[in-house]
Amino acid sequence: MRKYVPKDDVQKKPYYTDRYWVAPQVAKFDVESDEVFAADLATIKEKCEVIEAYIQVDQMVVIIKPTDNFTVAQILKDECAYNQLSEVGAMDWIAKQNQYEVFYQFLSMSKRKRVRIKCFLDVDQAVESLNPLYRSADWAEREMWDMSGVKVNNHPYMKRILMPDDWVGHPLLKTYPLQGDEAAAWYEVDRIFGKEARDVIGPENREPARVDRYDTERFGRLGHEIERGAEFKEDQAKTPLAYQEEGGVLIIKKFHEDDTVEITDRKR
Amino acid sequence: MKRYDLRHLKSDFDSRMEEIVDKEIKAGEVIIFLFEIGDFDAIQRSADIIKESGCELINSLKFNEVDWTIVIKKEAK
């Protein structure tokens, strides 16, 4: 029976995976092994229900319900002295369980500890904004919405931050191709000239080094210049590389291409 | 661990190889030589050069039709 691979996940897949290979797990330790974390977890557990908590690579990871992320952040900030929200991000588990996973990375300077609060929320579910507690959440959540499409409630200025304001789609989803979808490829043309100008302008030349010698619209041939758009002929009159206008500049001696000397030895 | 490409010298790479082995590498260092096979005597010649200069021939490989690669280690005097 072949392994199930989600069809719309267009990210790059491993070239070959051994059929019976099971990936090892990064070590997870019990929270009780570190008393500072244990105390923090206890204070969280009083107010909200904790689905799972463990210590991974000397940081505590606590998985909670998405509805009480604000209360947990409040507890961490007030009671457990986690005074900085370093990062907010989202992961896309839509193919597996039709859910996003949002993680908040907290830092306590006094205790020198870092905690990661994670919550799984459904695709149409929204998360409460932590902006009143930590101002750094303002931009972080805007980027999370922009990149992954996780909706955030009562955010002061919920707009896209990295992509243009009227961009369609969220780039970091697994269903969004790396090179961008059709709307992304035609974004500038649609925005400036409108959809009907697509076939006039033609697709974007994504290959930076591609030069089409017969296309006189976009490429000029040094030394064999012809008007833009003119018909390309094989035997082109050689036009010398003149650095000045035809009549030359008033005071400056006209500098001809043959007078150039190529210096080869650098020590001169 | 340096790699010296002597393919451009075609078959008269002996002097350059000796020069490199004597002067340019430190004792105990491992280097890779790459040279053209030509008519197959180049391989024997390179092995002789390495032997008389007292280095240890670790590996001698034929990666493709034209080139020959030898890995040598200079004796740590």
């Binding site: 797990q25 990064v26 690579v57 991000g89 020198r112 896209r160 790396l178 409108g194 | -």
Partner: protein
């Protein structure tokens, strides 16, 4: 903002309308002192700013998306382009994150070389900051001097990794090359004359009336604001927090090296300027000590440069050229990529700009399932939103200078 449609198209540089002499101007993406592509929309009453809205995203290359389609080693050169002023610190941040994910121990000599590279990068980044900030405020000579110093450092880095800006000088699991013979000599030569140059810049700037007027009391960041906005690095230490990751959460060999962390409580531009100058002295102190540590590793000849983990890191070149299995394993690691264990890790490091964190969630495949880069400049741009209201236009230029923001890192 406007509602664009066919009749009133939305172009970025049309002049904004004016109501009750409140003027909205674009501190546009192409601005000489915007340190890259920052579009700052400023609502102003005469010269005073009432509302500032930084609009970023002009240099967004989709690095996190690229990371999900590249194997770990392939992604390393991309991290150079994140904070292109000090690219070795990004490489190091990424490499450390992957090493912690795998649980890898890097040999001692590689650690010493890495610390040297990191501190040279810190010096280069601070010198670049000093040059651009001084130029923004008008001090041309300091700009030229600082760039000249930076040239020496770039030559040293170029000797090591062949590139001046995009170093990719650090690999996952260690360091690719041993340092060349003249590296220590050149570095020592540079470090001997560096304090004198620093003194010159400080004589030029410290008591300069214009510099003090433009910098003192401008862009004051309070302790709570720095904390709540997620500032890090010099922005945090200028507001009274004694928080330097190299001291608080020591990684590599920072716990064996003595250096102290300059902290100030003023929180204004001048404090940040003094901190950057002090940090340059600390970095040169560290570099002296790493040179001695390198000599020690030479004596008790721990000369391995890469960690020994066959399923993650390919064998040294000597083994690859001689043993068959090493060659086969190297081939698989290079073509299909190494597969770290399933798990998550967030590893912060102290980059010249602040706390640079890499969050990697791997599901056992050769490509990271999710890679989030915590760039310090992202929040240092965000703080402009709360910091600029109330200041004047020339202060905007000074504040952007001292926040030391780089847009490769902000937009990723």
């Amino acid at each position: 903002m406007q509602q664009p449609n066919r009749l009133r198209p939305f172009f970025e540089n049309i002049s904004f309308d004016r109501k009750d002499n409140e003027m909205v101007i674009n501190f546009g993406p192409q601005h000489p002192s915007a340190h890259g592509q920052l579009r700052l929309v400023l609502h102003m009453q005469q010269e005073q700013i009432t509302k500032a809205h930084p609009d970023v995203g002009y240099l967004h290359r989709g690095m996190e998306k690229m990371a999900e389609n590249m194997i770990y080693n392939e992604f390393l050169p991309t991290t150079d382009r994140m904070d292109y002023i000090a690219s070795s610190s990004n490489n190091y941040g990424f490499a450390l994150a992957v090493e912690k994910l795998i649980g890898l121990e890097v040999p001692r000599r590689a650690k010493v070389i890495r610390m040297m590279l990191l501190e040279i990068n810190r010096l280069m980044s601070h010198l670049f900051w000093l040059a651009t900030t001084a130029l923004d405020i008008g001090a041309m000579t300091v700009f030229l001097y600082a760039f000249r110093e930076r040239e020496y450092l770039m030559d040293i880095i170029e000797d090591y990794c062949g590139a001046r800006l995009t170093h990719s000088s650090i690999r996952i699991g260690g360091v690719p090359l041993d340092i060349p013979d003249n590296f220590i000599h050149d570095l020592k030569e540079f470090l001997d004359k560096f304090p004198q140059d620093l003194k010159d810049y400080e004589d030029l700037l410290d008591t300069n009336r214009i510099w003090k007027m433009r910098m003192e009391g401008v862009g004051v960041i309070s302790k709570e604001m720095a904390e709540s906005w997620g500032c890090s690095g010099v922005m945090l230490r200028a507001s009274g927090h004694n928080w330097d990751l190299r001291k608080e959460e020591p990684y590599e060999l920072y716990d064996e090296v003595e250096f102290d962390v300059p902290v100030s409580t003023k929180g204004d531009n001048y404090a940040r300027y003094k901190l950057y100058m002090a940090e340059m002295r600390e970095s040169s102190k560290i570099l002296y000590q790493t040179m001695d540590m390198y000599k020690k590793t030479q004596e008790n000849n721990e000369t391995e440069l890469m960690a020994h983990a066959p399923q993650y890191i390919s064998a040294p070149k000597l083994d690859i050229m001689t043993q068959n299995y090493a060659l086969m394993q190297h081939f698989v690691l290079v073509t299909q990529g190494m597969r770290p264990p399933v798990g998550e890790v967030y590893v912060p490091t102290e980059s010249p700009k602040g706390e640079l964190g890499f969050f990697i969630n791997s599901q056992g495949g050769p490509y990271p399932y999710r890679l989030k880069m915590r760039a310090p400049s992202f929040w240092h741009t965000g703080i402009l939103q709360d910091l600029l209201p109330g200041s004047m236009i020339p202060d905007v230029v000074a504040i952007i200078g001292t926040t030391n923001i780089v847009f490769g890192e902000v937009d990723r």
